[in-house]
């Protein structure tokens, strides 16, 4: 493994941690918030709902292990 790939892996591990699904879910939820905010519908509720869903899903997968 090269020094660059080790550094990239360390950054990934530091930011994303041990559950990449949560990181992906957060990125998708923010994108959805931006899309809803561009419409006439209120968008503030998207992230809280996503947080609850992502946390429950992550905990469910961790508890099964």
């Amino acid at each position: 493994m090269t020094r660059l790939s080790r550094a990239a892996l360390a950054v990934w591990d530091f930011v994303v941690g041990d559950d990449w699904v949560v990181a992906l879910g957060v990125a998708v939820a923010i994108a959805v918030t931006a899309l809803v905010a561009d419409s006439t519908v209120a968008a503030w509720w998207v992230l809280p709902v996503a947080v609850v869903a992502l946390l429950l899903d992550s905990l469910r997968r961790a508890a099964r292990r």
Binding site: V51, L55, A62, A63
Partner: protein
């Protein structure tokens, strides 16, 4: 001091306290078993690297447009906060081992004794272990100081809260001359996870263009709401674990 600034200071203080306790255990282990001077040199070097990182990246972050900053910082804080909260919930529910500073101290001290020590010479092992321990634990704090501080344009408040936390932990460590095993680390991590996740949700949504009902006051609903949800999750997971253990015992009998 506004509510958001107070929240910033509390979150940074708690996060920094937890990380400082973990770094202190590593430094105490190599310092007590090998070389205090080399271990403290490692601490100094790591602190200088962290300070340089905050000093270099802080102004760069604050120069970003507030919308871009909020969505980036909100997203990162949310990912970070959910990691902290998930681990804290699993630990509180008994599904993940709780951080045991005394066990970690014993493990680090045993590893340190196993490496040959040249008397009087600069001890590279103590330096490297202390440097790595402080740098790795400190990076999380530097990240929180930078993101929280830059987003509210108060890196000074964030850095001061971090410095006070480190000072208190070091003083407590010097007084105890032992790892701070009685610090309720998981409770602190639980609180930090809730703060990071709440602020991440708030700023992430604002950065993406959403408007919160009530403005900043929405945080007064988000923080306790998430705390109640997390505590309820712990209770449900604990009950599930207890039920599984009853079934396993019943099967054995």
């Amino acid at each position: 001091m506004s509510g958001q600034e107070l929240g910033l200071a509390v979150a940074v203080f708690l996060a920094c306290s937890v990380e400082a306790v973990e770094a202190l255990t590593i430094v105490l282990a190599v310092g007590a078993t090998r070389s205090w001077s080399s271990a403290l040199s490692g601490v100094g070097a790591a602190t200088a690297v962290l300070a340089a990182l905050v000093a270099a990246l802080g102004p760069a972050l604050t120069a970003l447009p507030i919308g871009v900053l909020r969505v980036a910082v909100g997203g990162l804080l949310l990912v970070f906060g959910l990691q902290w909260l998930r681990k804290a919930i699993l630990r509180a529910a008994g599904l993940k081992a709780v951080h045991d500073e005394e066990a970690i101290f014993a493990e680090e001290a045993e590893a340190a004794r196993a490496v040959a020590l040249e008397q009087g010479a600069f001890d590279g092992y103590s330096f490297a272990v202390a440097f790595k321990g402080v740098l790795l634990e400190g990076l999380e704090v530097a990240f929180i100081v930078l993101t929280f501080g830059a987003n509210q344009h108060h890196i000074g408040i964030a850095a001061a809260a971090a410095a006070v936390a480190v000072l208190l932990v070091v003083l407590a460590g010097v007084a105890a001359r032992a790892p701070l095993a009685r610090v309720p680390e998981n409770t602190l991590k639980f609180a930090v996870g809730i703060m990071l996740t709440s602020f991440g949700t708030f700023w992430g949504a604002e950065g993406a263009g959403a408007s919160w009902p009530g403005g900043d006051a929405a945080l007064l609903v988000l923080i306790p709401g998430l705390a109640i949800f997390a505590l309820a999750t712990v209770a449900i997971l604990r009950r599930g674990a207890a039920d599984r253990s009853d079934v396993a015992e019943g099967a054995k009998a």
